[in-house]
């Protein structure tokens, strides 16, 4: 399958953006300050959303999975990797289902993605901790994540517009 250099460049840049945002988030939001364990803004989802809109589904999947892998390689732990991987794959699946719907905007895609990310994380927690009590976190994680998802969509819009603009100029 052939790919244009522009698509490859966009995917690569978005992967590095996802990594930087992951690290930035780990800096900004140290654990213990947030009321819900495991809750994050999900800044890295900006990069995954941009890839989904600007390049394609497969590339967005690559960005989501490679991000988790590289963070693991940079000194993350295996439990954190499992959480982010499962959360990321769930979010990606949901966003793919919604992204081409006519009546669903980028806000709906991002919010549903964030909610699915929370569900994926709870499933990982169920598996790691082997106790059903983690389910009591689920509604709070999902509600807080949905709010964050709306913010993420808002931040993503200008990037998608800018990339479209660059793409249009290249064609002309």
């Amino acid at each position: 399958m052939r790919k244009s250099a522009f698509d490859i460049a966009k995917t690569a840049i978005m992967l590095s953006l996802a990594l930087v945002l992951s690290i930035l988030e780990a800096w900004l939001l140290p654990r213990g300050i947030l009321p819900i364990p495991g809750f994050k803004l999900g800044l890295a989802n900006i990069a995954i959303l941009v890839t989904l809109y600007g390049v394609g589904k497969k590339e967005a999947f690559l960005v989501a999975v490679l991000r988790s892998l590289v963070i693991l390689g940079l000194g993350g732990n295996i439990v954190g990797f499992l959480f982010s991987l499962l959360g990321g794959i769930f979010a990606w699946g949901t966003m793919c289902l919604l992204v081409e719907r006519k009546h669903v905007s980028i806000f709906g895609v991002s919010i549903a993605g964030a909610a699915s990310h929370g569900i994926g994380q709870i499933l990982a927690a169920l598996w790691v901790m082997r106790t059903v009590y983690v389910i009591s976190y689920l509604p709070y994680l999902v509600l807080a994540g949905s709010l964050a998802g709306a913010l993420i969509a808002f931040l993503t819009i200008p990037i998608v517009k800018a990339l479209d603009h660059i793409g249009n100029e290249m064609i002309q």
Partner: protein
């Protein structure tokens, strides 16, 4: 499978619609999420309400031997339980609300980082001291959460 000059794919590929305004489908998604969360929170609330009178026991074991097993309701005021052994010492905070490992002589302090134990199923393990602290439910079905205490029979 034919070769093209490298750029043509971009322009012909179907792109997702650029819908950047909150739309009807979004409202449906938000509504569904809020509804599901409300149902789960409600269900958990009812579950907690039904089980709120179940007894919670704290069980402290060392080398598989039960050192202490007490109903949390019996702690009218908080107390500290001290374990001294040839491996080291530990201080465990006990009250009717919560239990946590306050101090441990071990090097890694993983057990202290476990934090407060409040619900059946919570537990903290100190491997260097071979001590397990856990909260178990008074209900015999759930009373033996992970089978960890199978060795305590005698």
């Amino acid at each position: 499978m034919h070769k093209t000059d490298g750029q043509s794919n971009t322009s012909t590929k179907k792109r997702p619609p650029r819908n950047f305004r909150f739309s009807s489908g979004d409202a449906f998604i938000v509504g569904a999420i809020v509804l599901c969360c409300a149902i789960i929170i409600g269900g958990l609330f009812i579950h907690r309400h039904i089980h709120k009178d179940d007894a919670r026991y704290v069980r402290i074991t060392q080398d598989g031997k039960v050192l202490l097993e007490m109903d949390l309701r019996e702690f009218s005021e908080p107390m500290e339980y001290r374990i001294d052994s040839d491996r080291g010492h530990m201080i465990i905070y006990l009250s009717s609300e919560k239990v946590y490992i306050k101090e441990s002589s071990c090097a890694d302090k993983i057990c202290e980082k476990e934090g407060e134990l409040t619900s059946p199923g919570d537990g903290a393990v100190c491997l260097p001291n071979r001590v397990v602290v856990q909260i178990v439910s008074g209900n015999s079905d759930e009373g033996n959460p992970s089978g960890k205490v199978d060795a305590v029979a005698k």
